[in-house]
Symmetry: C2
Subunit: 585 residues, 2 copies
């Protein structure tokens, strides 16, 4: 399946919508259009020419567990070498550890293309990035010096080991135990499941970050500590030495992302070292959660982008039926699918979602940068608020977009050889892992809304209202109406929460989607303003900017009224939800 990197749109969002050079980030002034064009162009080429052609191969071949070692699909080893050689594993890492010090927002733009081209392949890099981030935040100087340069270079990769058979969301049930050894290291024993990239042949070592229970830590999540458990114990020179006592013992047979090995890991007294403080494993893990959840939102989005391209390409070429207003291709046996309003409606729905979602993901990434740089006191709260929305709303809607794109292909979309089914199957997992979307909704309503007296959501609401007031009517009016629905929903939730938490939580998923609509409406209002400014200044391609306005109006007219439906559901509360006895199901 050919993938066309959306470099022009990424550049438009970075520079025209988010005004990267004027973002106040250290070094941002040097990130002009030429610089990002070079980065995006190179990354796009790798995505289109190296990663995308391997996407179907990986799906077909999957991974094999042979003699305790996971073998990746044909071509993945060479692709990993290309990723390393291009410096793509180190883009936003600290120069102190061999990184290039780019802002996270640039890494996010690049990441969308990589994950769109090959979600399963990008898993290896994404998990490494997360593990490196946790070590950077919580490791000692020696730990950082040992692990970070190798992770950043892509010579080693990382994993996150949380889940166990008896616990997914509820990490308080973790049973893996760590016992102290005489030399200050620990011995870990237990079984972890669903460990992505838990073993593979792309890197010379794998750095596992493992949540485990230490003696005296008490029950629940308070007793958990975080450990580094490398596959090969580093020797005195930091080279992979003796094999550690942990191994992949089984691969899961999954619906999608077949090329990403999902391992059951057995730890039999494996040697590990504490990262961060003892019994502070959960907070250490949470440090990385914003970036990880944003990344999963991006994974979903990437599949929607690629599937949407496939749908548009098919709709332009497949000849079937005649336009209702008369033949559009009178010389041919039939007209292309794209003449049919319902097909066009599908393509526009996907497009309007994808372009707004891209802006939301990049805006959130920029807020993470601004928070890290300490240049924007409101950034941290907005990030906290937006992360469950980006993860939950973007993955729900991206999956729906993949399904819609598959539908454009008719029966041919159901045939695996054509690649549409893979987008659907791969995108599906993004709704599940890194906190299932119901958990994102719970996090948003139960934790993020009430935080600091609701200050962050009120700040977001103010942004939406200001954008509505500044925007032209086709954008301003729907955004204002949606913002009013958001305000009403907040009042309903506050009242319900005080009376009966079940009542509020029954509306959590609807609230997440309501927020998602307002957030994309906010993005579209900003995009429209940027497009108008570009048109007025004669900057940028005219057709591109005019298409932005059409696509934005499509989103505003067709999607924004959904906030009223979500508000109605939130108002419906938990009565019918909780009324039946459990055994009535």
């Amino acid at each position: 399946m050919a993938y066309v990197p959306p470099v022009d749109d990424l550049a438009f969002v970075l520079h025209d919508v988010l005004e990267l050079e004027r973002s106040g980030l250290p070094g941002a002034a040097d990130l002009d259009r030429e610089t990002t064009a070079a980065i995006l162009g190179e990354a796009g080429r790798l995505a289109a020419e190296v990663l995308a052609p391997l996407n179907a191969v990986g799906d077909r071949e999957g991974c094999r567990l042979e003699n305790g070692v996971v073998v990746t699909a044909t071509g993945f080893l060479a692709a990993w070498a290309a990723l390393k050689a291009g410096g793509w594993t180190s883009l936003d890492a600290d120069p102190a550890h061999g990184g290039q010090g780019m802002p996270h927002v640039v890494q996010t733009a690049v990441g969308e293309m990589f994950t769109a081209a090959n979600m399963a392949f990008q898993m290896f890099a994404g998990l490494s990035h997360g593990a490196a981030g946790a070590i950077a935040a919580h490791g000692t100087a020696a730990t950082k010096a040992l692990y970070l340069p190798r992770l950043v270079a892509g010579d080693w990769t990382g994993t996150m080991q949380l889940t166990e058979p008896q616990c997914g969301t509820d990490l308080g049930l973790i049973a893996t135990r760590a016992e102290p050894a005489a030399d200050g290291s620990w011995r870990l024993s237990g079984t972890k499941i669903f460990i992505s990239a838990g073993d593979h042949d792309l890197a010379e070592n794998i750095v596992h970050l493992v949540l485990a229970r230490t003696p005296g830590g008490g029950p629940g999540t308070r007793g958990l500590s975080l450990f580094i458990v490398p596959k090969f114990l580093p020797d005195a020179l930091g080279r992979p030495g003796a094999r550690n006592a942990l191994a992949a013992v089984r691969l899961e047979h999954k619906m999608g992302i077949h090329a990403s090995p999902t391992c059951e890991m057995r730890l039999d007294g494996a040697t590990g070292w504490l990262v961060g403080e003892r019994h502070k494993g959960m907070p250490a893990m949470f440090t990385m959660m914003n970036a990880a959840r944003l990344w999963v939102g991006l994974q979903g989005l990437g599949q929607a982008v690629a599937a949407g391209q496939a749908a548009a390409g098919y709709a332009r070429e497949r000849l079937q039926g005649r336009a209702v207003r008369g033949p559009a291709n009178p010389g041919g046996p039939a007209d292309p699918l794209i003449v049919h309003p319902d097909v066009r409606r599908t393509l526009m729905d996907i497009r309007a979602f994808v372009e707004g979602a891209r802006a939301l993901a990049l805006w959130t990434a920029l807020l993470i940068d601004r928070d890290r740089a300490g240049t924007d006191p409101a950034a941290e709260g907005l990030v906290a608020l937006m992360v469950p929305v980006v993860k939950g709303f973007l993955t729900d809607r991206s999956f729906a977009a993949c399904v819609a794109a598959q539908q454009v292909w008719g029966g041919h979309g159901y045939i695996e050889d054509n690649g549409l089914a893979q987008f659907v199957r791969d995108a599906r997992v993004a709704m599940i892992y890194e906190g299932a979307n119901g958990i994102q909704a719970l996090d948003l309503v139960g934790r993020k809304l009430p935080a600091e007296g609701g200050r962050h959501v009120l700040a977001f609401l103010a942004l939406a209202k200001a954008a509505a007031a500044a925007a032209e009517p086709d954008f301003g009016a729907p955004l204002a109406a949606a913002a009013a629905d958001l305000e009403a929903a907040l009042a309903v939730l506050a009242a319900a929460g005080a009376k009966d938490p079940d009542d509020a939580l029954a509306g959590a998923t609807d609230f997440l989607h309501l927020m998602g609509h307002v957030a994309l409406g906010l993005m579209w209002a900003r995009i429209a303003t940027a497009a108008r400014a570009g048109l007025a200044a004669g900057r940028g391609e005219r057709a591109f900017l005019e298409a932005k306005l059409v696509t934005g109006r499509h989103w505003m007219a067709r999607e924004m009224p959904a906030t009223a439906l979500h508000l109605a559901r939130i108002r419906a509360g938990g009565g019918t939800v909780m009324a039946l006895a459990a055994d009535a199901f």
Copy 2:
């Protein structure tokens, strides 16, 4: 995956909601609760004990094409024998051909269970049923005498051969040719694709119904005729004789329904016989379309039922987290998932959809019976109107229900071994085949609404308004509001259609979903009335009837407001949909 046949709910819909005995159908007075209970109970047992255990087997093994013959999955042959032995292939067939003469609505109730238990297996029977129906409607007496008893007995099976590589929806592009032979038979040549059950080892012969082009028939669909092309040419005694010149040459590798062989068929001068009139192939095919599309709606629904059961079972047993109002299972390590409002909301959403959809499918089947019996002059128009809704709305929503059920299982839902992914993959095709759902929407808006001056949709609207007026307020008010939205949408479409058909058709899918909501609202109002009557009369199980009222209120409060969103989108029209040039995609 255990499947629990919903025999009580099917009986409730048949007798309490639809009042089968008083339906005016010939022989309906004999169809009392005891009679249908025996039928439903036996069918449910076969579904649960024979078909459901083979569902995962079929998914895993698929079918094999070996030396030109398709081999089905382990156990399918024995299951087919059990289906025949139980008389399930002949349930609603004419006693003149060995059928049992049951109404279609009873066959539909049975069919829901079979397809819920094993959608791929039920394909064989469903296609046979369709082929037999076409022959019954259009065959000569001799043709019927030869083919129908064997199809009805399940000794032979049937197929429908329409699609070719260059045409799916647009059958006017069919290139398969039929040339007359001296003996009155025809010789057919061409390539057909996507032929379900095109070859297999369950039956001693396969009766293909093939659409082909005859000389002098003119272009487009007007030149098409329908032919019977048996795999083995019947000898003088009607036994399978010489092999005919058509064969499966390739199996598709599909996203789901792996156990149903999707064949590419090559016809190399295959012998066939005309069914119905020459150049009247399309109308002959259309005869069967209502039943076939209702059946596909049922396929979707079946998967939603089975997936919903799997989700509820997991939610009751999987321990994870604590209820927000305090532990519900204080003696255990955690509470079952079902205590969490967002999980309960998911289960209730699935349940409310499934129970309403079941009533809609059975109501539509009963209308087909009443139309055939000639006892209800309004039935034909209502069937024409409801069929695209049952096919399009039920399959869209059933797929969404399967996805939601999979979500309840978290990461374990993504693992193929647990069966949830199969429901999603199998249900997906029901949105595509037998007229993709966009085609259903087009059929509804472009053909069914304007038919006979809009008489049928106005009759439906009157039913909805009457039910709203008669229902208690929790049901009546939302239904009345939705009916008003439907009425407004009709006005918008009529005005748009007169001005610019693209404008109307851009809203077709939204109109289909709007109709679906009103139809399920109408069903829920009737269900509530029946439940109240049962409670007042002390008839039926109290908890069952009270749960109906709760579940119905859930649907009315949470789902019916969606009509306003669909109306807003219909009002948005085709402006942004059609604005961009095709090469802008």
